[in-house]
């Protein structure tokens, strides 16, 4: 049948293959177009920065020293959430963030590759030793989200998770958060 030449000059097999190739190319281009539009118009895209840090000395001071961990309000009003990921916990393990405020999460690993996602949101990234992971987002309503480690990091990986507690802006301690990192971790 493939050898039969139709009056149109092309064999039916070739016509169907051509139709299939054109359809698939069209679908792939349409999907790429949606992805590009999402990034360009909505501003939604995977976070992409390369920032290095010395993972072996996080505890000795610098950006990820203990007083800076948790949520600090930057001068421009952004809530900067700093978290250390280690085997097998996030520090702090309960993150307090205000709703409706731009949030910048910054994570560093003290040992191996970890990952995290905030359930119910598009926050999803890896935390690689030697690098700082930055994710910018905004939480719309109050609530509590689970934030598990989603990259196998050793025998305790399945028990490694934090919570992200989003509170209404009125209930967030903005004044305290301007000087010291706040969190809802039990002290």
């Amino acid at each position: 049948m493939a050898e039969a030449i139709s009056s149109a000059g092309q064999s039916p097999g070739k016509r169907i293959e051509s139709l299939w190739a054109r359809s698939m190319a069209g679908i792939i281009l349409a999907m790429l177009g949606v992805i590009v539009f999402t990034s360009a118009h909505w501003g939604l895209h995977p976070p992409s920065t390369v920032e290095t840090i010395d993972s072996t000395s996080l505890h000795k001071g610098g950006e990820f020293s203990e007083a800076n961990l948790g949520t600090l309000i930057a001068p421009d009003g952004t809530a900067v959430v700093r978290v250390v990921a280690q085997q097998f916990s996030f520090v702090p393990n309960c993150l307090l963030v205000p709703a409706g405020v731009p949030v910048r999460m910054r994570l560093a690993s003290a040992d191996v590759v970890h990952g995290f996602l905030v359930q119910g949101t598009n926050v999803n990234a890896m935390v690689v030793p030697g690098y700082v992971t930055t994710v910018r987002t905004k939480f719309s309503g109050s609530g509590e989200h689970l934030m598990p480690c989603h990259e196998f990091c050793g025998v305790g990986h399945q028990a490694m998770w934090a919570h992200v507690r989003v509170v209404e802006a009125a209930n967030f301690p903005f004044d305290e958060a301007k000087t010291k990192g706040v969190s809802c971790a039990r002290q």
Partner: protein
């Protein structure tokens, strides 16, 4: 004689082209695209901005 008739009938059906296969393929592709669009509209976009 019977097999001759049968072969002629088969040749006639085959000559009409693989429309059935095309319908199955098109349905499968449509389902996949519909699921992709559903995830995009109802799961990804509602989950908020990321950057």
């Amino acid at each position: 004689m019977d097999t001759d008739n049968e072969e002629a009938r088969v040749a006639q059906i085959v000559a009409q082209g693989p429309t059935g296969a095309l319908v199955v393929a098109a349905a499968a592709v449509a389902i996949v695209i519909a699921i992709w669009i559903a995830f995009y509209l109802f799961a990804f976009l509602p989950r908020g901005p990321i950057g």
